[in-house]
């Protein structure tokens, strides 16, 4: 079985990254924005794992790093959801357009 070339995987992760970014910019709903952030994080994970596999097959740092990122993403999701709940309590909405009071 011939190996998938590295470039394919990088294209995948880049696509994933920009899909996430697009979601972050266009969505007004905080939950979907949070999901977009998860996409971005996962694109980075894929990069880490792929580079580890292709460039330094005898080392494990990239794999460990992606594990760290997954853990942090879980923590970040918890914090983000807490923020979203508070936002909802204050504004009766989780639309970021409605929470535009922190300005000059």
């Amino acid at each position: 079985m011939s190996q998938v070339p590295l470039s394919h995987i990088l294209i995948l992760s880049t696509a994933l990254f920009f899909i996430g970014m697009y979601g972050l910019f266009t969505r007004r709903n905080m939950i979907t924005m949070l999901m977009s952030v998860e996409l971005i994080l996962n694109s980075v994970n894929i990069n880490f794992v792929a580079f580890n596999k292709y460039l330094y097959p005898d080392k494990l740092e990239g794999v460990f790093f992606s594990l760290f990122i997954i853990a942090i993403a879980a923590a970040e999701a918890a914090v983000a959801i807490a923020i979203i709940i508070n936002l909802y309590r204050n504004f009766r909405s989780i639309d970021v357009e409605d929470a535009g009071e922190m300005k000059f």
């Binding site: 970014m21 910019f25 924005m33 357009e97 535009g100 009071e101 922190m102 300005k103 000059f104």
Partner: protein
């Protein structure tokens, strides 16, 4: 050599009184504050007199014997040497240069502590009666204590910077006491004027100190004098280096003299003294007659060896300024009608006399140190009779509620004791033998005769004028028109008078006011017999006493002429003074308006300084300094207004900035690292 360390108590006791009264006097012992202040000064005065006794008689070897034996030439080798009673380093700049708090005892400082503490004691006692019922009774005594402390500290200073510190302190307490009735605008203005004028002169003093001490590399008086008067030392710099063609030593001394002239109200810095009479009369007696105003004389005397060593031009300046002040003030005094102002100008005139005497030093002349002794002698006697005059004026003002001479007349029946004391003081100041002023004035005239005939003439004329204006005051207050019933309440009496009860009108004055008069009157009579030429001399060695023979005839005759002239004009109420004044015309008006010196000052400050310096300075401040600040603020405000839109509160805007920043940095790194 006995221990003189107790001397430090002399200034510290009044300071303690000041602190206690200043902090608690108003609340806890309102009534007793006068007693506390007086007690402190009483102990100080006792210690001062004891010190003087110990220094001059018990402790002074050969000279003491000479005085006690009454011999003309008082043993050889003796003499009074300066004693450093106490020395504590206070502020040390470098090993050689430090400001020490030291106490120096030499004939002039010992004489001065006696004068200051004694007059202060008399004034304290007098104030017990005079200021009774006053709202700020405790504060008054606190201020008096502060002044007494500062003045005693000033005369005992053994360090030129220490003297400067006390110099400012007396200026400050003088300011506080002139402005004691701070609800009167004139008093406030007078206090400010006194402060500003003397402060202005003190600037000269400070620069003088800096020049002298920079070259002598010490601040200690003894070393300063020693180093500055040594011709062979490496201090050649100060005599050769020059500014505007005058050596730096002369400049330094001249500037020190300017400081002294400001404090001593010499022409042309005298303008504050007559206005200072707005203060309570006991204050005028203490500060503006007997003690503080002679600080300038004392300062010159303290640095006298340096003055004598330096270019004679400096002492010429002292001589002429003194003579001019004495003469001008005497003329002005002849025309004033406010009783305290007459006395103020008379003070100025007498201080001019003292300065004149200091200026008569002749290195080669036979009368070398005569002027010095004469000046100190006159300072001593003047303190007695001038304080007495002011206190008498205090009694009169207290009784009449007026300062104006034309409200008075025939008071001799109403105030018999004051009348007697005032007469004694007038005789003393006029120089009629055997009252004290006669002796000191003769010495000064003799010194002036040896130094400069022109100045002698001026001094002689001044002494005649002195007799005239003093007896003008005396006759118009105590004789003149017949006594009228005291009913004319004029409202501008000297504070505190309002409180007096009707019943008190029958009495001349309370006992506490009479006692100082009697004691000072005795001083005014007897002070002349103290053998000053043995005790207080320029080099510490006794001088041979010179007979007062035929030389005295001229001045005494002139003084008698002055007295008779005053009697002719003012003994009975008549139109003579007015006719006389009319005959003099412009000259009289000139003197009446004090030679328009105040107007000149007003012109200079208002028209010249305000317009030429004040306005441009204000313009620069308003448009350049403020403009710069406004520009900065405007620019900041504009920029922030421009960029505050970025802070939109929209989350996705921030995300955009964030990613844009990341992208920008990424591009930058890629560009840089490849």
């Amino acid at each position: 050599m006995p221990n003189y360390a107790y001397i430090v108590l002399i200034p510290l006791l009044p300071l303690a009184a000041f602190v206690v009264l200043g902090l608690f006097g108003r609340k806890y012992f309102r009534g007793a504050s006068g007693g506390i202040g007086t007690l402190a000064v009483l102990v100080s005065a006792g210690l001062s007199i004891w010190t003087a006794y110990q220094y001059f008689f018990a402790d002074a070897g050969g000279v003491g014997g000479g005085v006690a034996g009454g011999g003309l030439d008082a043993g050889g080798g003796g003499g009074y040497h300066p004693v450093i009673a106490l020395k504590a380093p206070w502020l040390s700049f470098s090993p050689g240069l430090s400001i020490d708090m030291s106490v120096i005892l030499d004939p002039i400082s010992v004489m001065m502590i006696v004068v200051v503490s004694f007059v202060s004691l008399m004034v304290h006692v007098f104030s017990l009666g005079y200021m009774k019922g006053e709202e700020r009774y405790g504060t008054f005594f606190a201020f008096l204590g502060l002044f007494t402390f500062s003045m005693l500290g000033l005369v005992l200073s053994g360090n030129i910077f220490e003297i400067y510190i006390f110099w400012e302190l007396v200026g400050c307490s003088s300011f506080l006491l002139i402005g004691f009735y701070f609800d009167r605008p004139t008093a406030v203005a007078a206090a400010k004027k006194a402060f500003i004028v003397t402060r202005f002169a003190d600037l000269g003093f400070l620069i003088g100190i800096l020049i002298l001490s920079f070259h002598a590399e010490t601040l200690d008086f003894r070393e300063l004098i020693q180093r500055l008067t040594e011709p062979s030392s490496q201090l050649a710099g100060i005599t050769t280096a020059s500014f505007l063609g005058i050596s730096l030593l002369s400049w330094g001394l001249f500037l020190v003299f300017v400081g002294g002239a400001g404090k001593s109200a010499l022409f042309p810095l005298h303008v504050w003294l007559p206005d200072a009479m707005e203060g309570p009369t006991p204050v005028s007696a203490l500060i503006h007659a007997a003690t503080m105003v002679v600080a300038g004389v004392y300062l010159v005397a303290r640095l006298y060896p340096v003055f004598a060593y330096a270019d004679p031009a400096v002492l010429r300046v002292v001589l002429y300024v003194g003579g001019l002040s004495a003469f001008l003030a005497a003329i002005i005094a002849c025309t004033q009608t406010d009783i305290k102002r007459v006395l103020a100008y008379s003070t100025m005139s007498q201080i001019g006399y003292m300065m004149l005497a200091l200026g008569t030093f002749h290195p080669a002349g036979e009368a070398g140190g005569l002027g010095f002794t004469a000046s100190m002698f006159h300072l001593f006697t003047h303190a007695f009779f001038k304080a007495l005059l002011f206190l008498c004026a205090g009694v009169i003002i207290h009784r009449m509620h007026s300062n104006e001479m034309k409200d008075m007349g025939g008071l001799r029946k109403l105030l018999p004791l004051t009348h007697a004391c005032f007469l004694i003081a007038c005789l003393a100041i006029a120089g009629i033998p055997p009252f004290s002023g006669f002796f000191s004035k003769e010495d000064i005239l003799l010194a002036a005769w040896h130094a400069d005939k022109l100045v002698y003439g001026v001094a002689l004329l001044t002494s005649g004028l002195t007799a005239f204006y003093m007896f003008r005051l005396y006759f118009s207050v105590f004789w003149g028109r017949p006594l009228r019933e005291v009913g004319g309440y004029h409202g501008h009496g000297d504070g505190g008078a309002e409180v007096k009860a009707k019943a008190e009108v029958e009495v001349e004055a309370p006992f506490t006011m009479k006692l100082p008069l009697v004691i000072l009157a005795m001083g005014a009579v007897l002070a002349g017999f103290i053998p000053f030429n043995r005790l207080v001399t320029y080099d510490g060695l006794p001088q041979a006493s010179h007979g007062i023979g035929l030389f005295a005839v001229g001045p005494v005759a002139l003084a008698l002429v002055g007295v008779l002239g005053a009697a002719y004009l003012y003994f009975k109420e008549s139109g003579r003074p007015a006719k006389f004044a009319a005959a003099l015309g412009g000259l009289y008006r000139l003197a009446y308006h004090k030679f328009y010196i105040d107007e000149v000052y007003t012109f200079i400050t208002k028209k010249i300084i305000f317009n030429l310096i004040g306005r441009p300075a204000a313009w620069i401040d308003r448009y350049i300094v403020d403009g710069l600040m406004n520009l900065l603020a405007t620019v900041t405000a504009r920029i922030s207004a421009g960029i505050k839109g970025l802070q939109s509160g929209k989350l996705q805007d921030y995300v955009l900035y964030f990613f844009a920043g990341i992208a920008g940095l990424t591009i930058l790194f890629i560009y840089l690292y490849t």
